[in-house]
């Protein structure tokens, strides 16, 4: 059997695909975070909580109403996105004039509330969500076996990232959004409903997090705290990539997932800190992040 650095090749490839799966989640989450930050100027600490809520929405949908995976993929982001819209209306809207730190603190509080409620209802232990039947089994590629679900997660995330990129960079709606990011008051003066745009953007970013949660449900345990440490890794990803760059968010999300997977093979003890170490190194070398520009 072929080995690299004494590790069998299939093990490496297995960890790399797992890393790619995690990287897809990082990409989806940091994309939403970047879009929200771009327009609202708020770092959404509740992003991990919305990811968790997305996974729970799928789980509850299946258990209580028999909603299957494919419907959950649409319904869960919609439901959680609506919750996001509500939060924007009730709370965030009143903070835009203030220091952005308040938005961070508010969303931190919202994350605590969401996690506490779910822990009270469902306990701290993980729930498993079945892989949908049509995505079970593996592809045998000859040099490795690739579980179909993992391939699906990566493909679906890349597809959604691509569509989001297209929406923002190539459509009229995206043009308005980018213009509002540059100068909201001027865009408003042109008769565009900026508050509505802001609300929709927050809802959309939150829905992306929930979508990542549904995609993750069959590969990780669904638990109230599944998002709380993930959001910190995603923050590090965003700091590395530089906020405000969509392509940067996607590229750095995927590549950091890969690096994490690789670290699991070479030096497992460091696998959950490697992203933070890379962040520290990047900051020393390029404080604005790899794709970022200094404001």
């Amino acid at each position: 059997m072929a080995t690299v650095l004494g590790v069998p090749l299939p093990a490496i490839l297995g960890q790399l695909t797992l890393g790619l799966v995690n990287g897809s989640f990082y990409a989806l989450l940091s994309l939403g975070l970047a879009v929200i930050f771009g327009l609202l100027g708020i770092v959404n600490f509740a992003h991990g909580a919305f990811y968790m809520l997305g996974a729970f929405a799928a789980y509850i949908g299946l258990q209580a109403f028999g909603v299957n995976y494919w419907f959950a993929l649409i319904l869960a982001p919609l439901a959680v996105g609506l919750l996001g819209v509500l939060i924007e209306r009730l709370f965030l809207r009143h903070l835009y004039r203030l220091d952005p730190l308040y938005g961070l603190l508010l969303t931190f509080g919202i994350a605590l509330i969401a996690e506490g409620i779910m822990r009270d209802r469902f306990g701290a232990s993980g729930k498993s969500y079945p892989v949908p039947e049509s995505l079970r089994g593996v592809f045998d590629l000859g040099f490795m076996v690739l579980p179909i679900y993992r391939a699906w997660v990566v493909a679906a995330s890349l597809g959604v990232c691509g569509m989001t990129w297209f929406l923002i960079e190539r459509t009229r709606l995206g043009a308005m959004l980018r213009a509002a990011t540059e100068n909201a008051r001027l865009v408003q003066a042109f008769g565009i409903n900026v508050p509505l745009l802001v609300m929709g953007t927050y809802g959309g970013g939150v829905a992306l997090a929930a979508l990542a949660g549904v995609l993750a449900a069959p590969v990780v345990q669904v638990s109230p705290l599944m998002g709380s440490s993930l959001v910190i890794v995603v923050f590090a990803v965003v700091v590395i990539g530089g906020m405000g760059s969509i392509v940067g968010a996607i590229v750095s999300g995927l590549s950091l997932g890969l690096i994490e997977g690789l670290t699991k093979v070479i030096y497992p003890e460091a696998s959950n800190i490697v992203v933070f170490i890379i962040m520290a190194v990047v900051l020393m070398w390029r404080p604005a992040g790899l794709f970022g520009r200094e404001h």
């Binding site: 903070l95 509080g109 506490g116 700091v239 959950n272 962040m279």
Partner: protein, 322 residues
């Protein structure tokens, strides 16, 4: 004059608080609870030095609080160090850690600073989780309180309480001295308008780093004392939850006021003490809700609101934390 009544009112508050603090164990308040409260108050004062006077929101202050507790506990329990030496070593460790993390974090401002401190604190958390000397998931147990240079034993709860209280008082005065020193005034200039401070020729990054290191060191002192008081050091002290709590304490009491963090710490520690037995997971919901209320309608905090009301009725113009 408004100024002299102001000073008199302040003196009265301190006298009342001092008497309360000194007599609380005699009045039957559980001393371990009091010590915990004083340790968190010290932690919040350290945090306030950053958030309140320099407007740097560190989202990872548990790293200094918790790791100093581990270092002190490990040296005292495993290597038989004396209490004071153990505390000093814990403080030294947190100063060093504060320097390493601060040097990276002060390269960015505002929310980036918050995210970076959070991420690097998570790095510290994972190191504590995996290192041998911390006892991993179990934490360090059975840390003896020892004595002050073999002269005064700290085993009794009330002796330990007065020791912790004395250290806290010294720290409180020290923080006031820092804020009122020329150095502290530069920090406040940075808080008000960083670009202007830069253009006036101040090496802003150095000032911020020094403030960060000082704050980390005091946080470490609080963490060491807490580990000695309770006799154990656990992962929850280096966890992001603890970082969030100290933010809440400072915010709730009033950031940028001297007494605010003390008031905030008292409220939060008392809440946790009484709630955790009764409501389980709802503690986190209640803490989260307090965060939301603080940010939405109570941004000055308790002490800040009172000071603001005083200022409005008096003639002095005070800064509002908007």
């Amino acid at each position: 004059m408004a100024g002299s009544t102001d000073i008199r009112a302040r003196a009265a508050v301190y006298v009342v608080l001092g008497i309360l603090a000194l007599t609380a164990p005699l009045l039957g308040v559980y001393p371990v609870f009091l010590m915990k409260l004083v340790c968190y108050a010290m932690f919040a004062c350290a945090f306030n030095l950053l958030l309140g006077y320099t407007k740097m929101l560190s989202f990872g202050h548990a790293a200094y609080f918790g790791s100093a507790g581990y270092i002190t506990g490990w040296l005292v329990a495993v290597h038989g160090w004396g209490t004071i030496e153990g505390i000093l070593a814990g403080v030294a460790a947190s100063l060093l850690l504060g320097f390493l993390i601060g040097a990276i974090a002060v390269r960015r401002q505002g929310i980036y600073f918050a995210m970076i401190t959070l991420a690097l604190a998570q790095l510290v958390f994972f190191i504590c989780l995996q290192a041998d000397f911390t006892g991993g998931e179990n934490g360090l147990q059975g840390i003896p309180r020892g004595s002050i240079f073999g002269l005064i034993g700290l085993g009794r709860d009330d002796t330990m309480y007065y020791f912790v209280l004395a250290v806290f008082t010294a720290v409180y005065v020290f923080v006031q001295r820092i804020v009122r020193s020329p150095f502290g005034h530069v920090l406040q200039a940075i808080r008000e308008n960083e670009p202007r401070a830069v253009s006036l020729g101040y090496k802003v990054a150095r000032y911020k780093l020094l403030a960060f290191v000082l704050s980390a060191g005091i946080s470490g002192l609080a963490g060491s004392l807490k580990a000695l008081t309770l006799g154990f050091a656990t992962l929850s002290d280096v966890n992001q939850g603890t970082s969030g709590e100290v933010i809440l304490m400072t915010l709730l009491g009033g950031s940028g006021t001297f007494l605010g963090p003390v008031v905030g710490a008292s409220v939060v520690v008392t809440l946790q003490e009484y709630l955790s037995d009764h409501v389980g997971a709802w503690v986190s919901v209640i803490i989260g809700a307090i965060f939301v209320v603080c940010v939405m309608i109570f941004r000055r905090g308790f002490v800040g609101e009172i000071a603001w009301l005083f200022a409005r009725s008096g003639s002095r113009l005070r800064r509002t934390p908007e």
